[in-house]
Symmetry: D2
Subunit: 421 residues, 4 copies
């Protein structure tokens, strides 16, 4: 452990809540070097929707690598990329009636966001991007400017501009009509808001505290964008690839974003890969206008293709996810009820769930207690007030129940429920 404090920057973070040395992993389990088994309900912050070292993906990956298939090829044409693209079109795009083109903007989610913002600005000739309170889109300067978290913004070292923050669904007092403020600004030529190039939104804000946008709100946003000729970007990096049930988290709302970002679970195996999707007519990029070294390396295409074939050719997986999500939601509801006097409540959709512990430090304490008991979780929200659950979607019902039982115990240990006098 000293190795890390000696050699790795103080910026490291997740490791601080999980002070052990991980070694092996299978499905929803991670094992440390002493062999201790942890149930992983964080799944690489949503990067392992199909579990650790998923055997079907693993087989294909080993086969690919063993046979000296090309690993790195910049953005040259490869068999692996072709197969990924055709599968993505056949399994994902076509059945959903989406005529998107695919950009491989770099290996990380922030690359997908940066490309989306650049493209939106290039298309419209405008600079401002509307983002939402507690949105999270990445740490590079363009993505950071549309990210809400003040600590992370402070790391920029320069003012973050060309962005305007708006209230996410249900942000204010629950009485203010949706988009009253944004619509006023857009309608009023004296409002001081320069006409935006685009809106960027998460349907469920993961880092922001599992804040769920209603379908009504999402539809309203899509209509507003269309009415005012503003591009709609859905950042589906954390909530896409089935996290909320359907492949894209926006499907339930019946909207069609102009631009979509994907990353995290798109390779299915934890390999860095990111996609920026956009409507065909928006493909105004010049060749090489946005480039980079790792814009799709082939092993990630291979595992990504297998994942699409394995989980998305029919509706079974999606339905299972929704059922598991209901189960998790129900159990969390019971935990919240047990601690209602401490103000505990729940949030979430599909397999993205959160337990809100409003008293300072309690959510962190819950996660620490859970770690002690062999369960990996993290906090989120601006005050770290939400214990966040993102189990692999392939987690079995038995594992879910086991983990939720640990969580229930952890909450009991951490939350000081007011005692009757």
């Amino acid at each position: 452990m000293e190795t890390f404090s000696h050699l790795e920057s103080e910026v490291r973070s997740y490791c601080r809540g999980w002070p052990t040395l991980f070694d092996k992993a299978r499905g929803s389990h991670v094992y440390d070097d002493s062999g201790r088994d942890y149930l992983d309900f964080f799944a690489g912050a949503g990067s392992l929707n199909y579990g650790h070292n998923n055997p079907r993906l693993k087989a294909a990956l080993l086969d690919y690598l063993s046979g000296d298939s090309v690993v790195h090829s910049l953005d040259a044409y490869t068999v692996a990329k072709r197969d990924f693209l055709t599968t993505f079109e056949e399994v994902i795009l076509k059945p959903r009636g989406l005529d998107y083109k695919v950009q491989f903007p770099g290996p990380a989610g922030n690359n997908a966001v940066e490309a989306a913002l650049k493209l939106a600005r290039k298309i419209t000739g405008r600079e401002t991007i509307v983002s939402f309170t507690n949105g999270f889109h990445g740490m590079t300067l363009g993505a950071l400017a549309v990210t809400g978290n003040s600590m992370k913004r402070g790391g920029a070292g320069v003012p973050l501009n060309h962005a305007a923050t708006m209230p996410f669904d249900n942000y204010m007092d629950g009485k203010t009509p949706d988009f009253l403020w944004l619509r006023s600004l857009l309608e009023d030529s004296g409002s001081g808001l320069d006409k935006p190039a685009a809106v960027i939104v998460e349907t469920v804000q993961g880092e922001g505290g599992i804040n769920v946008a209603s379908t009504k709100w999402l539809r309203g946003l899509a209509e507003l964008c269309q009415e005012y000729d503003i591009l709609l970007i859905v950042d589906d990096i954390q909530m896409g690839c089935g996290r909320t049930g359907p492949f894209f988290s926006f499907e339930e709302a019946g909207i069609v974003p102009d631009i979509v970002t994907l990353s995290k679970s798109i390779s299915g195996y934890g390999l860095p890969l990111a996609l920026t999707l956009f409507k065909r007519e928006l493909d105004v990029w010049e060749p090489g206008e946005h480039n980079g070294t790792f814009r799709g390396f082939n092993p990630a295409f291979v595992t990504g293709t297998v994942a699409l074939n394995a989980y998305w050719r029919d509706e079974v997986f999606q339905k299972e996810t929704l059922a598991k999500g209901d189960l998790v939601g129900e159990r969390l509801g019971a935990i919240a009820d047990e601690h209602a006097e401490a103000g505990v409540s729940t949030r979430g959709r599909g397999m993205a769930r959160g337990l809100v512990l409003p008293n300072e430090g309690e959510a962190k304490q819950v996660c620490a207690e859970a770690f002690e008991r062999g369960l990996l979780m993290e906090t989120s929200g601006p005050q770290d007030e939400v214990a966040k659950l993102l189990p692999p979607l392939t987690t079995s019902v038995a594992e879910l129940e086991e983990g939720l039982e640990i969580l229930a115990e952890s909450v009991r240990a951490a939350v000081k429920t007011p005692q009757p006098a």
Copy 2:
């Protein structure tokens, strides 16, 4: 091929010069799906210094993956990361007397650059970064602001600020003293240049046209930075990991940058990995102040560790690289001499080499002719006027000679040498 034009964004670029479907790769060879063999003298733009599917790295990678070792773990502590860090310290840092801390800022070079710039600004409380003509540092907004290429800058869609461009070594007329302009600006409180946080520089500008900074110039720059209390960032993403001979390209100049970025060949296998290194006392990051999903995935640590052990425990590899570089330089010199009347000349250091073809379109034509003859190369420079060679460092002398022979033929086919009257 229609798959790509139908589904992939117009932004794709390298594929346009290499219109075939790649499938397999070994060492310095890539094979397309018809089995045709190409000598790869581009090596993933410097990401494959140890060749494609290097057998020693491959064995370790397959072993790691087969055994269900953890692949994705955010920035948790893992055995693979520990091994990488201790090896990096033992093999690279200690022998060179470098007391750097290591940040894993994300999977791509641009993440390493963004983290470097953010840290420099945070440490100094200043905003301006000095960059150099024809520098290339990445496509995300922070990195793009210090990148010279106007086409790529134009993709930003917003003005790129907080940066000041300065002449790279030997940029002007060959008579102007080094740093005359930058020193004047720094000395003069009325110059209009706000005191910079940092200078970011490549020792050899790869994308910019294989422009080589002399050791004298680099030393002058380091002294200037120290004199004016400005941080020196060396972007060693393309020229590090042995491309110019030594592990770090700045070793030859005997300078110690405050911050160093690495990526491309650091995993050794084409897997996305990036490092930002900085002097221990500069590690002022708050935990989580710069985060992200893919900040070091374990298979990349595994292959990176093997590469360090295999190639950097003694000086053999470095010496071989220098010798091969001399050979390439010599042969390029001969080609240039053959076409002296067409103004052809050479540039380069170590195994980063370029053939300058000043007439419009000739360098592109050379690369096209080479592709026809089974050799992969690319152009670089602001006018695409440089045919660029970045062969794997593991390329054998015989392969080098074969490739250079193809190149010689390609130049003969492409360059219209003025005929005697």
Copy 3:
């Protein structure tokens, strides 16, 4: 008239609504070169609160100039400046318990705003300024960034940054609690609003359409600023110097801004002069850190001093203004009632009044009809939907009644009141 179209830039504006050649002016009357008499209910957009060529000020000015007293002296010490400062302290600051220091930031209101914003940023080390919908603060880049009007913002030619627009009083649906949005943003560390240096506000938005902030709203804003350690800047350029009754427009609300800007009527004679006032402890300027050529020229100090002595040593003038304001408000109300079916309504406070004509073009037509009938007025508001009245405060009751009668006729001529079927 051809002189102007031939030689003066197309940017000229007020002259377009008043197509005649003005020559002489006395009190509330202006005369064109044919001798035609106009009642001036615009008063230099609030620069002539004491009327044109006010005889008491004129006498002092002529006396000063005749005697070869110093006119221009940069910011040297002069008798005229000393007298202005001591009078300003004695007549304005002391009786109101204000311990402000005075900066002469340049001759125009925009200079006062620029100095205020610079000082607020320097004091706090923060960049963001909160401004309000339909606020107007000037055309220089710093002031323009906090101005709402999109046409004027578009003239910047660069993105306008470091500002965040918030809803002015009663902007939205009349139901949303005051500052619900701003308070949410400030309380929430994930909101995406970087902590502001200052808030800049007009108590009555003149250019924005005579939007009146209630005392309750202003107090709430002052409390919010104090609570969150944000500086409160009141831009009193148009509404100060008695326009709303008291010398400062914020007196009624009982608040004490940290910084106040004054210009327009502060010289009392239409001479360019501007002041930035700030609490003594905020005077952190370095000598010369903000400089300029015309930071208080002496004739303006002379007339300004006389105006303070003539109108502000007791409460008579203020009371008269309020009474006249009531009279104007009442008559406008009657006009609005007459055209209720056309949606006409009124706004205003003191002698800053507006008639809202919601149908497109009607307010402009009213002003054109008024001009035809010998009354000068202008439109304001984002859609030019408000006919704006800023008569000199010294306008007699008879003149007010005369002008309002003309206005009533003009409205009748311009507004197509729906006819009963």
Copy 4:
């Protein structure tokens, strides 16, 4: 004097070097309240080219004001403005073959600069403005971004962007060819300099230290701008209106700027007035797109018109200025020769002259000694190393000789000429 330290902001500056209370002024003389007579060789930083209270201008001004002619009229058409415009065309523009349109952008030089920059950006659709080392253009955010002085830039409180600083004539080592750097940047698509909207330049940098651009350099700059389709803005605020001899300081170089700014002495009487001139075809402003309250008040038009008629209808005044300038230059040369061992030298053109005293504090001390002896001067240059002379152009030869004699004594008192051993 306590009045000022008690009530006026610490930002006040000129008054600090001239600690007395000024009262009266005539021609080149200013008198304090004790009746002490000072020769004024600073002339309101070039605002009083025709002397204090010039009798011909004074007569017209008193006449105008006495007759209740309109003083303030926003940008309405007035007799005074018409007369100014027609006189300006007849006396200044036509004889020089200039087909400029005139904008009244506000009362101060910074307004003229802000309007020039906005217009240049609007016309070109580009953001970057090229400015020069030690240039000075004003304190508002747009103008400050193209101003070199670091102390003044630091007052902005936000990063100053969209500008690139270039070496002024003779800035570097005297060997570097003119525009080598700027031309390289413009020619090279990889230079990192975004194509500029405009260049802004002073022909003689007044605040920057009386740095004189040669006619060759100015012509080279004009040619470069034309070649690369960049607008050329000459900021003639301090050096125009005859300061260097001809009305415009750029006439000698035979260049025709696209945009010109004028202020300071354009009213001739120290009254705030500013002009932005531009080629007819560049008048793309929308009506009201740049507005403001004090864009030309009529008394300033009146004195400005008289000044044009009095001094610019023939070449007498210009020739006298050049002769006086030669005289001042000669005497300064003699002073410099006397103190050659202390490194004293001279700079200047026409009646803009400087004595360079390279040892720290000496120039300030010279000005202090001069004040003691009844001569008003100021320092300039980035280190306040230049004692600057801007006498009224109407100063008689006898007065010039008197002042220069005082200066010679002051230099003797202040400069510690190294003594022979």
